[in-house]
Structures are given as structure tokens and as C-alpha cells.
């Protein structure tokens, strides 16, 4: 089964960038959920999902984003989404994610969003 999915973690200051790669579907969503949970538990609430290498996302995958956004924002942080391929971006938009999440072209834009909160959605 095509369940190749990896997350690569890096940091920019106190911002954690999670680079998603591959298929984020029902099989792999629990894995991503674990990663985000770990960050949240570790007190890292300024998160950027770099979706540049994300080739597919299903509802279950999107569910992970929804599952954490309230907790993260309540803790004073945010989960920003960037670098979406057009096909994947379409899924986010169809389901209305663009009105809930800050979705920007590049990691740098997301970082700026954190540094300059006035620009936040």
C-alpha cells in the first residue's frame, strides 16, 4: 500500500517547522498526529507545516490539523500551513480550511507571520 509518509523536523528560533513528505491519509494520519502531539506536549506551539513534498492529503489527514488548532491557539501559538502544491491546496480550500488556517506560499512567509502577529489571520 502506498503509505509513504515522513515528517522532518527543524527549527527556526522557537518556531518548529514540520516538513511533510508523501501521503497523509488514514494510514499515516496517526503518525502525524503523534508528531504534533509530541510538539504540543513539549510546549512547542509555534508550528509550521511545510507541505512542499506533500503529495496527497485525505480528510483523516486534515483531521489532524483540526484536532490541534484550538489547543495550540489557546496556548498562544499557531499552526501555519505553507508551500502547498496546487492539487493539495485545492483540497484544503474545498473544505474551507483557508478560512481557519493561515495558509501562505513559503516557510519564510509563515515565519514572518509569527514574528509580525499583526499580519495573522
Amino acid at each position: 500500500m502506498a503509505t509513504n509518509f515522513t515528517v522532518q523536523r527543524s527549527t527556526t528560533g522557537n518556531i518548529v517547522v514540520l516538513a511533510l513528505n508523501g501521503f497523509l491519509d488514514a494510514h499515516t494520519a496517526p503518525e502525524f498526529e503523534k508528531v504534533v502531539q509530541q510538539e504540543f506536549d513539549g510546549g512547542n506551539v509555534r508550528l509550521i507545516a511545510d507541505c512542499g513534498e506533500l503529495t496527497y492529503i485525505s480528510s483523516a489527514g486534515l483531521g489532524v490539523f483540526m484536532s490541534f488548532i484550538e489547543d495550540i491557539r489557546e496556548a498562544g501559538g499557531d499552526l501555519k500551513i505553507c508551500n502547498l502544491a496546487p492539487k493539495v491546496a485545492q483540497v484544503f480550500e474545498i473544505l474551507g480550511f483557508d478560512s481557519i488556517f493561515e495558509m501562505v506560499p513559503a516557510v519564510a512567509d509563515a515565519v514572518k507571520g509569527f514574528e509580525n502577529p499583526a499580519k495573522e489571520v
Binding site: 496517526p30 498526529e33 485525505s58 483523516a60 483540497v91 473544505l95
Partner: protein
Amino acid sequence: MSSSATQQTPQHTAQSGLSQSRLESLLESAKLLSSHLNLDQLLGHLLRTAMGRYLITRGVVAIRTEAGCRVEVSRGCAALKKGSDFTPEASLAAGLELVFDIGAAEAPIGTLALGKPARGPLDAEETDFIRALLGLAASVIANALSHGESVSLNQELDQKVQELRALLDLVRGLAATLDPEEVARLLLLTFSGRWAVTKSGIAAWKEGHPPVLRQRGLKLDALEHQREAIGALPDASVLMAEQAARFGLPAGSMIMPVRSGGETCGAVVCGPRMLGAAYTNDDLEFGAGLVAQAAVALDNSWHFRDTIGKKQMEKELALAASIQTELFPKQLAKLFATDVAARNRQAKQVGGDYYDVIHMPSSHPTEEHLVCVVDISGKGIFASLLMSNIQATLRALVFRENSLPIVAQTANDLLYATTPSNRYATALLLIYEASTGACRWVNCGHTDGIILRANGDVEMLACSGIALGLFPARTYEEQTFELRAGDLLAIYSDGVTDAQNEAEEDFGTDRLVDVLKQHGSLPAADVVERVFEAIDDFAGSAPQFDDITMMVMKRGAGNMA
């Protein structure tokens, strides 16, 4: 262009300048109108052109839809806002005197309505210009309308495709797991992703299994007490304020009962959608479908666990049975001229009967043996372990202790100390002196032993003390008798006398005595077999739940070694 201009009079020049500007405007409009398909921009341009050209301060464009004529663009006209109904009366009331159909007069696709031109009334040529402009716009508007329709159709289609993807993805995910928790997790992820909800939860219950409870932002702990109310709900519904309060959920939540067979075994709840969006009928259908899939998966995983549990228990029972079998003496100790035989038959579950004939070295030079039948409470692996405990205890005790009351008392204290208070064993302990036939015995809560004398008399070895392991510091008194030539002694577990037939009657002591009398002349082993046969004949097809243990001792005529 310049040559024709020089031939014209000033008045002509003004006239032709006007008509040239009209042509230019038409050309510009034609270009613009065909360059993009966005209806708003298109109508905006139309209105701007007319208003700019005739210095008009208010105007609207209305488009005919199935529901009637609706204002699409409105400028300087508060009375007729975008989206309001457009009627000739409303138009007049709003001060829009100039009204033009867009498209063919017999089937116009819309209307352009304008206020009073500051430049004065329009002449025929200006009216023609407007008509030309609208004619040009009509087909473009028609195109834009159908484009808008197909965009919204496409969006609907996208949603459906997305729904199907989610369903397919979930079904695939569910197929890969046999863990109820994992099923719950996948389902909630899919819902919260599909509907962009941050609050969701599932509670599901199955007898013999830990409840499944996952919740984010909702409290579903108490739902189990409302199973009936949940069962009465449709497959998916949105909870209004009052109903929501009854379940302790936020109003606007969607609730979907989890059904398995005719039973309600749980509920899935998704909190209200964000940004005030409502759940649609499509959403309800989709939700119900997904939950139905998950219900099957939950059922499967529960069933799988049951099977595993059963297998595990069977394994345990087999192990217990083999432990127990190992504990029975392979061969009973030789008791000289006394013929002794015993047999134990386990019921379906591993029980706790035990018999033994143990040589007592402490009694040397006489030939004494401890003969016992023990019935241990409970079944399964625990009974097996207790049985091995009792065997070791008795063997160790008789190795150094000749007093039967002390053996019984010590065994009682040891068992009491090492087992839970609800565990105990009944036992008939008898020390047999093979050379003389002398017997000393205690009956610790056990079924009566039977002595069938050679002359046909029957004597019972009735209960004389409390079962082993129930209470601490008990004392036991021994009694004695002599087993003489031709006498038969039967010691057995209550599985013999409690065996039931289809009418739920007990086999009982009388029937047992009859069998012993009838077959008492046979060798001990055969007598034991006859007893089993008699029990089986009696029981017929009635199921037997208890272990059956039967021991028979017959003292022969030549009673010396």
C-alpha cells in the same frame, strides 16, 4: 481619418465626434466584455459605461433567475441592494426611470435600470447605443451565467469527490486495523478533517470489553446512561439547544448513534462547525454512512478480541488440564491384598478433583497409606495450582506426621494462609493400615464415604469437620473403623452424587449404593467403571458440569502380604 475630418463642418464634427466616441465605446466594451467571464466585473463595466456616459448617479443591473429578477450590481441606489428583488414598481420607487431589457425583448435575461441623466433626456441615437451595448453584453452575460453555474456545479462535484475519497480512505484504514481504539481514532480524524471541526468524540460500549472513549473538546462519559435515548435518534441528526443540553453537548452538534445489529452500542458526536457553517443534509448522510462503516469495524475488532480471548482461555485450560493430569498418581501404591482403583473424569472445564494414595514412611514398620479424595473449589488454572499445592502439602506432612488430626489441621492452616478466603478444598482423608485393615479417617466438609460390608450392611463416613482453607486454627477429630475381608470402601467427589439427568434429578447416594451392591463382587477397577456407566446412563444427554472422581478399595480374603 484626418482627411474626412477636414471636410466636415464644425457641427458635423461635433456630431460625428459623438458618434465616433459611441463607436469607440462599443469597441472598447466589446473587447472588455469578451476578455473575462466574471459576471460581477462584466455588469459593473456595463453600469459604469452607461452612468459615466450620461452622467447618471444611480443604476442597477438585475438578472433573471428561476426565482425571479434579482439585483446583481447596484450603484448609488440604497433602496435596491444587491440580491434584492427587482420589479418595475421598485425600480420606479427608487427613481430609476430608464429601463432597458438585456437580450431579446421576448426573453430578456436581465434589466438595466438607470436614474435620470444629468445630461438631459437621451435621444434616439443614444438609446440605440445603449441597446447596442446591451445586445453585445447579452451573450457575454449568458456565457458568464452558465460559467458561474458550472463553477458551482464543479464545486458540488468536488465536495462529492472529497466525500468519496474520505469514505474510501476510511474504509481502507479500517480494514487494516482490529483495534477498537484505532477505529475510533481514524473515524474522528476523518470527521474533523472533513468538516473542519475541532470538537469531536466517540463513546462505544460492548459487554466484556473496556469502553471505547475518545473525546476532544466534548464530554461523552455520561452518554452510556442514555443509550436508549441515543438509540431512538435517527442515524445522524443535528442537536438543537434543548436536546443538546439533555446529552450535555453543545447545540448544533451532530450526533450519530453507533448501531450493531438491533443494539445501540455507542455514539459519535461532532461539535458545531466553525465559522457558523451548518451541517447539510449531504453531511448527515455522509456522517451516517461513515459511522455505519465504523460500526462494522468496531464489531469486527471486538469479535476478534473475543476469539483471541477464547483461544487464550482454551490454551490456559489445556495447560491446567495437563498440570492436573500430571498430578494424579500414574499408578496407585500397592496395598497388598487390598484391591484399589480410582478414576477421575474432568467436566468440560478444568475442575479441581484430586485423589491419591500416599505411602507413609513415618509409620514404618507398619504399612500405612494416606488415601484421599479432595475436591477443590473453583475451576481452571487456579484450581490446578491449588491442587498441586494441596498435593505437596499432604505429601510433605505425611512424610513426618502420623497423626491424622494434625495433618488435617496443618493442611487447613497452610491453605488458609496461602489462598484467598473464597478458595478451599473438601477432603476425605483416610489412613489405611494394609496389614490389618485398620482405618483412621477425617471428613473435612467432603461428601460421605461409603462402606459396603461383606454382609450387605452400609455405613457412611459422614462429614466430621470443616473444609480445608476456610477458617484458621480449626481442629479435626479422627474416627476409626476396620475394613474387613470382603468389605468395599468407596470414596468419591460430589460430582458422582450430584450428577443430574435431563429432569434435573440428582444421581444421589442411593443409586450409588445400589450400583456398588450390584457390582461389588467385581475387581475394584471394574466397580469404578460400572459406577461411571451408571452415571452416564442416568444423565443421558444432560450436560455435566462437575468433575467426577471415584475411588474403590476392596479388602481381599487373604489379607496378609
